[in-house]
């Protein structure tokens, strides 16, 4: 492989202007990642006009910086405020927030930053060396494969919760039902829209996550505060110990790999990767019951995986001209505005853009790691702010964030509705995680399964005879049967896991 364009790419990135745009991008990204709801998508849309004035390479370097910078920032709210800004950080909330409650927010954030850096960097190296090969792999995944992966994902959800299994399954079912809201993409028939155009395209992930996680937590705490003497959250160590790092090492390694591979898949790649990385760590753990109660690996695995996935999701865009997610669609638009058509010709026609962007990510990741270290100390202090002050600010930012997704007041009401639902769920001991994840995977399963059936001419055996989807379905069977198998091997009475509410 000819490495001179790669080196030229470094030359492009190291130009002072491009370095500056890279820095601006990652700083903006990190900050908006911290603001719940206001995701990289909305930010890039707002900043699009600015890119008219600057060169294509600088513009894309900056926008890319916003995108992966937001992945770092998003962790902070997931851990500190229980607010996952993206579907791919929902899993981080479980152990991240638990760690924060134990006064170990610094540990969680530190591990997440290191994991993100390693995951991101591994993924860029992969992008540099094997992008075209991996892009071909993405194309081997058709609707049947996505259907299989989605079902595997839902199965994993039921195994990751720590509370009552039955309640987790009920919550997941509700999530699947919510996913059916909206105009049927195959026939145009209205489903549960009650004649409202606002519901025609279904419900967005943001209002659901913001309501079920963020708002519900605040509502619940308001009640708690009156019931017991409030003690300010402890803020212990701000940096992970050697022991924590040792514990997270394996999770970071495996998370990088899972994230890179699954991130290439357009659609649910990032969500699946964080879910799979978490589930894998829990399965491997000697004491799986630690998970959900503040396991360091439970933060390291999904955070590493979702950063690796964010990076590898550039592969379909840069090599095939296919945007893998909504934010990538914006990048696509930004490139078009600059008169550059992303596609198979990009590497040869615009090597400066391709390698400039790829190489800027090495630098951006280093910048983010350097920034994260002092920031962890600053952000952790947020926990010292009295809830009476923090709660209304969080609510306000959450609602504004939800508004920016579609510029609809309607979405603000949705957040409130889901906030109340989340509050009630918590009161009755249901976890929001399974609901949200099942919701995300639900629409993917439905449309992929139906597309698959159309492709097979209505014959469902096709799902099992195609090599990849067949393998995934085999995996589904193994995962589903695993508890039975294990029981048979151990023959040990399973003690009921006590329901955890707080």
């Amino acid at each position: 492989m000819d490495i001179s364009p790669i080196l030229d790419g470094f030359g492009v990135v190291l130009e002072p202007t491009n370095l500056l745009y890279c820095l601006i991008g990652v700083i903006i990204g990190m900050l908006i990642g911290v603001l719940p709801g206001l995701g990289p998508g909305a930010t890039i849309a707002i900043l699009l006009p600015i890119t008219y004035g600057i060169g294509p390479v600088s513009a894309i370097i900056m926008l890319a910086g916003i995108f992966y910078g937001a992945q770092y920032g998003g962790t902070i709210t997931s851990v500190l405020l229980r607010l996952p800004g993206e579907a791919s950080s929902v899993v981080t909330v479980f152990d991240g927030f638990a760690l924060a409650k134990q006064g170990k927010a610094g540990t969680a954030l530190g591990i997440a930053a290191i994991g993100s850096f390693i995951g991101g960097t591994v993924s860029i190296i992969g992008l540099t060396l094997v992008a075209p090969v991996v892009a071909g792999f993405a194309l081997d995944f058709g609707p049947p494969e996505y259907a299989a992966l989605g079902i595997l994902g839902v199965l994993l959800i039921s195994s990751i919760g720590n509370g009552n299994k039955l309640k987790a399954i009920i919550a997941a079912c509700i999530g699947l039902l919510i996913a059916t809201v909206g105009r049927d993409t195959f026939t145009g028939a209205e489903r549960f829209t009650f004649g409202s155009l606002n519901l025609a395209e279904g419900i967005d992930f943001i209002p659901i996550a913001m309501g079920l996680f963020g708002l519900s937590e605040i509502l619940y705490n308001l009640e708690e505060r009156h019931n017991k003497v409030h003690s300010p959250a402890k803020v212990g160590n701000v940096w992970p110990s050697r022991k924590d790092l040792g514990q997270a090492k394996g999770a970071i390694g495996r998370g990088s790999l899972i994230g890179f591979v699954l991130g290439v898949l357009p659609g649910g790649g990032a969500v699946l990767s964080s879910l799979a990385a978490y589930a894998l760590e829990k399965r491997r753990a000697k004491q799986p019951e630690r998970f959900g109660r503040g396991a360091v690996e439970g933060v390291a695995a999904p955070e590493t995986a979702n950063n690796a996935a964010a990076t590898s999701s550039f592969i379909p865009l840069l090599t095939l001209g296919i945007p893998a997610n909504a934010t990538m669609a914006l990048m696509f638009g930004a490139l078009l505005i600059q008169g550059i058509q992303p596609g198979p010709q990009l590497v040869t026609e615009h090597p400066d853009v391709f390698w400039g962007v790829v190489n800027s990510m090495y630098i951006g990741n280093i910048l983010l790691l350097i920034m994260s270290i002092p920031m962890v100390g600053v952000f952790v202090r947020i926990l010292r702010v009295r809830p009476a002050i923090m709660a209304p600010i969080t609510v306000l930012i959450t609602l504004l964030g939800a508004y920016t997704v579609r510029n609809q007041v309607y979405d603000i009401f949705l957040v409130i509705v889901f906030g109340v639902l989340g509050y009630l769920m918590k009161k009755f001991g249901f976890e929001p995680g399974p609901l949200v994840l099942a919701f995300v995977l639900g629409s993917m399963i439905e449309s992929s399964a139906r597309q698959g059936l159309l492709i097979f001419g209505g014959d469902p055996t096709g799902f099992f005879t195609r090599p990849i989807s067949g393998t995934v379905f085999a995996l589904v069977v193994i995962v589903a049967a695993w508890p039975l198998i294990r029981k048979a091997i151990r023959r040990k009475p399973t003690d009921r896991v006590e329901e955890k509410i707080s």
Binding site: G41, A45, L48, Y52, A138, L139, G142, P143, T185, T187, G188, A189, L197, N198, A200, E201, L219, L222, E223, H226, N227, P266, G267, P316, L320, G321, I322, P323, A324, A329, L330, F332, G333, A334, L336, I337, G339, Q341, P342, G343, P344, Q345, A391, P392, V395, L396, L399, Y403, R406, N407, Q408, V409, I412, F413, I416, G419, Q451, L454, I455, G457
Partner: protein, 335 residues
């Protein structure tokens, strides 16, 4: 625990209510500042362009290019606001209800008025009578393509294949679906539609050989056509498209299928004549700039900068033709 049952609830309601109120008044605030006020000669304030699609798509990019030009001509800010939902119907409904003062306008797609009504209930269909058209903008044509491995070169090859052709579309009620359905019916080719949620997954499925052919907007396919990964089979315009001069139209191949997407600038019904004239003038000046012409070329868009009357006639003709053709072949787009 039951000691303070009511207190937290009241606080809770208060907080939620206050937050909602703040958020609402914040939005209200934005609206009043952007609608410029009635004094002085139009425009005295920002002109807001709303887009009924997500940022990054063709409608969004066209709106942004046009808004930038118009803003420059009129010397005001032209913020672009994305309001995706229901294929653009949500945005249309909002625009329809806005004050007809020229401070809230939008680029809209022909398909929302000509094809979508064929798949949704009459009450839900958006009607062009609710808007004033200011000018036509550009045409965004469709191409039917197949992957290189399939070996097909024309529509007749599909006919000769003698099997059920599975074709990808960019969704129900889109021009991509209509053009393919009409072509296969009139060619007598057995076929099944596989709708995808937009252009990207449709293209992915075609490149990955999950479907036999796909119809999509030229801008979505052209890079992969140039890169030799896709083979174009037909375009659905009246004449050949300058961006793909070697590709025969469906008509040339003997199938009378004319489906094209075009966009036009609209304002709420009842916008004053002088305001419309100002906007038209600014749009015309924008169309004439080198920058805008290059934008069209980069995005494979054919200028269709025609009068409002011509836009309305096109919309009416298309609606009537599509309906007649669907009835003739007994096609139901909603499957």
């Amino acid at each position: 625990m039951p000691t303070s049952r009511t207190a937290p609830r009241r606080i809770l309601l208060g907080v939620v209510g206050a937050a909602a109120a703040i958020a609402l008044s914040a939005c209200g605030g934005v609206k009043t500042t952007s609608s410029g006020g009635g004094e002085g000669e139009y425009p005295t304030g920002n002109i807001e362009f709303s887009v009924g699609a997500s940022a990054g798509g063709s409608t969004d990019l066209i709106t942004r290019a046009l808004a930038q030009g118009i803003g420059k001509e009129l010397g005001v800010s032209t913020p672009v606001l994305n309001k995706p939902g229901a294929n653009g119907a949500l945005n249309a409904k909002e625009l329809q209800a806005a004050k007809p003062d020229g401070y809230k306008i939008a680029v809209q797609n022909a398909s929302l008025f000509t094809i979508t009504p064929l798949t949704v209930s009459a009450a839900e269909a958006t009607k062009i009578d609710s808007f004033d058209v200011i000018t036509g903008i550009s045409r965004d044509d469709y191409v039917m393509a197949t992957s290189t491995q399939s070996g097909y070169k024309s529509i007749d090859d599909l006919k000769k294949a003698g099997k059920t052709i599975r074709y990808g579309t960019t969704g129900v009620g889109t021009g991509a679906q209509l053009a393919s359905a009409l072509t296969f019916k009139s060619a007598g080719v057995e076929s099944t539609a596989v709708p995808f949620d937009g252009g990207a997954p449709n293209l992915t499925a075609l490149l990955g050989n999950q479907v036999d052919v796909s119809t999509m907007q030229i801008g979505e396919a052209i890079e992969n056509i140039k890169g030799g990964k896709l083979v174009p089979l037909a375009v659905f315009s009246q004449e050949r498209i300058p961006f793909l001069p070697d590709v025969k139209t469906a008509k040339e191949q003997g199938y009378d299928v004319l489906v094209t997407q075009y966009r036009f600038l609209t304002a709420p019904k009842g916008t004053p004549e002088n305001v419309k004239a100002k906007l038209l003038d600014a749009a015309k000046k924008t169309f004439a700039t080198q920058e805008y012409k290059k934008f069209n070329e980069d995005n494979s868009l054919t200028p269709m900068e025609v009068s409002p009357q011509e836009v309305l006639t096109s919309l009416q003709n298309d609606s009537a033709t599509f309906k007649a053709q669907l009835d003739k072949f007994g096609i139901n787009l909603a499957g």
